[in-house]
């Protein structure tokens, strides 16, 4: 009787667990294995010619200066965006510490940017950045300054896209930091009360170690998210001007979906996979530690 009952328990839980396993395996294990195999082939999707060429894809891509700059751009994007968002998030959280009239509605307003659809955000920034009709250049001209090619100058375009990311995701960093701060007793801050700017500087220095968990969480999440950056680049610059805003995801996209070189696209995807797995190890370790 008892074994019958445990058996039915096992069957029940296995049955309800299986669908999720099947979908996860189908959407990930199959594509990853397929990518690994394709990376060793010269395979053009349109002409359907397929030939085994060993590691040649990896070698040519490794030497491709466009790929190198895509990698560099991605790292630059992830670093600058993440650090700025974390710092601004902490500063905002400090500013919002304590009570003041209208705190709740103001905070809800401040998180608007992270709720608006990314493509809507890209649309409005594209107008604001516009060389001829954009507001930013209008202001510069009115001040007697030279207009800037926000999205059309090779040296500025990537930074302009990063700025959009910072605008969109600083509220997220702010929310995490502020949740961390609100768990700290007030006395900690009052002990440091001196005048004016010194007060804020002290707060900042005191808070950094207290917020270390929150900082780590935001750094991880924003690094993972910015490393895959694609949509903003597609909408704002399409990788240009030149290849100055091309990122890893965009490179894979071009190889795969513009040139239909599935072999090269797979090989570059594997490069991305190796890099992201280095980040992933830290991330997973951190989360599993918290789980236990």
């Amino acid at each position: 009787m008892r074994t019958l009952k445990t058996n039915s328990r096992t069957t029940f839980f296995t049955l309800i667990f299986l669908p999720a396993i099947v979908v996860v395996l189908f959407l990930t294990v199959y594509p990853v294995l397929n990518t690994i195999i394709l990376a060793f082939f010269k395979y053009n999707y349109l002409s359907d010619e397929r030939a085994f060429i060993g590691i040649r894809n990896f070698l040519t891509i490794g030497k491709d200066t466009v790929f190198q700059s895509a990698l560099l751009n991605t790292i630059l994007f992830a670093t600058v965006a993440t650090i700025s968002e974390v710092l601004l998030g902490i500063l905002l959280a400090l500013m919002f510490y304590g009570e003041f009239p209208g705190k709740r509605p103001i905070m809800i307003t401040v998180i608007f940017p992270m709720m608006v659809s990314t493509m809507v955000i890209c649309a409005v920034w594209k107008v604001l950045y516009h060389y001829d009709i954009g507001l930013f250049n209008y202001i510069l001209r009115t001040l007697g300054l030279k207009p800037i090619g926000w999205l059309i100058d090779q040296n500025k375009a990537l930074l302009s896209i990063i700025l959009v990311d910072i605008w969109q995701w600083t509220p997220f960093a702010f929310l995490v930091m502020q949740a961390g701060l609100s768990s700290i007793p007030k006395e900690v801050f009052e002990a440091s009360s001196i005048d004016g700017a010194g007060y804020y500087r002290n707060l900042f220095l005191i808070t950094l170690p207290i917020l270390s968990n929150q900082i780590l969480l935001v750094v991880m999440l924003r690094t993972i998210d910015t490393f895959r950056i694609f949509g903003k680049v597609y909408a704002l610059t399409q990788g240009g001007p030149g290849n100055s805003t091309e990122t890893i995801s965009y490179y894979i996209y071009r190889e795969g979906f513009s040139y239909f070189n599935l072999g090269r696209a797979s090989a570059s995807a594997l490069y991305a996979l190796v890099i992201i797995s280095l980040i992933a190890v830290f991330y997973i370790k951190g989360i599993m530690k918290e789980e236990n």
Binding site: L92, V110, I133, G134
Partner: protein
């Protein structure tokens, strides 16, 4: 002491606060007024901070231009993707919380799901694209819903798992003693107990699917099936952009999400350790 903290918040504080609010709200304000300006005013090299003539023609143009078709596509994809993920994730999380599978399957599965969350979706897109072409799931909203599981499923699993971990087992045991079947216990006891978690997970998942762009770009080919992000991008990348109509779409696509912001804020400030990782 409290007084001195409050007085510090007086002048300097409010100047900063207004600055922050301007930075946050200005682009949103720009969406609104651009949507209300005439096409001519929108391409003037001297941008106006308030429309010279308020017009609803952009909204009319968007609505007659098939906006509702895209809206329905987006709603359908966001809700169905979420429903699909929720059902799978709910049962999987329940099994993970209440049953210890052999060979450490529980922990391996959870880690694997995290790996999926970390993978850049572009890496998965090429094999999925060739496979979906073979089985005729390209240019098909059901295909998009299936591939959206890459985003929504890991998210729902981790979030629901977090909620259900803390669920007391006594109610289920009581139901079992009363002779309820396993499935009845789930519907009568487990679902009501985790309902607030399910609602929160659903809302976040809908927002993720609503915002999804990459897979929609790759897997949807005809304008009739475009979701809103695709529609918006096709506007942005056009040579002569109709800024007013673009912002009208943006505004219409944004308002429903902003209605959730109060709830969103509450959830985010309450449960950070839950699903956000």
């Amino acid at each position: 002491m409290v007084g001195s903290v409050m007085s510090r918040k007086s002048f300097f504080f409010w100047v900063l606060m207004i600055l922050v609010l301007v930075v946050v709200l200005f682009p949103l304000y720009w969406i609104l007024i651009t949507a209300l300006k005439t096409p001519l005013e929108n391409i003037s090299p001297i941008p106006t901070f308030f429309p010279r003539k308020i017009t609803l023609m952009n909204f009319a143009g968007v609505i007659t231009g098939g906006f509702f078709r895209n809206l329905v596509n987006s709603l359908f994809v966001a809700f169905t993707s979420t429903l699909f993920s929720l059902v799978l994730a709910f049962f999987a999380s329940y099994a993970l919380v209440r049953y210890k599978f052999p060979f450490k399957i529980n922990i391996i599965f959870l880690i694997w799901v995290l790996v999926v969350k970390i993978l850049p979706p572009m890496v998965l897109s090429i094999p999925l694209y060739t496979l979906f072409t073979k089985v005729k799931l390209i240019n098909n909203l059901w295909g998009l819903i299936l591939v959206n599981q890459v985003y929504t499923l890991p998210y729902c699993i981790w979030m629901l798992f977090g909620f259900m971990k803390g669920m007391p087992i006594e109610f289920e045991q009581a139901a079992e003693i009363d002779g309820a079947s396993k499935m009845k216990t789930v519907t009568n006891v487990v679902i009501p107990l985790s309902s607030s978690g399910i609602v929160a997970t659903a809302i976040f998942s809908i927002i993720i699917a609503w915002d999804e762009f990459l897979f929609a770009l790759l897997f949807i080919r005809t304008p009739r099936l475009q979701t809103l992000p695709l529609k918006i991008v096709s506007f942005i990348t056009e040579y002569e952009t109709l800024w007013g109509e673009l912002m009208a779409i943006g505004l219409l696509a944004t308002l429903p999400v902003l209605l959730f912001s109060g709830y969103y804020y509450k959830r985010l400030t309450e449960g950070f350790s839950l699903g956000l990782k």
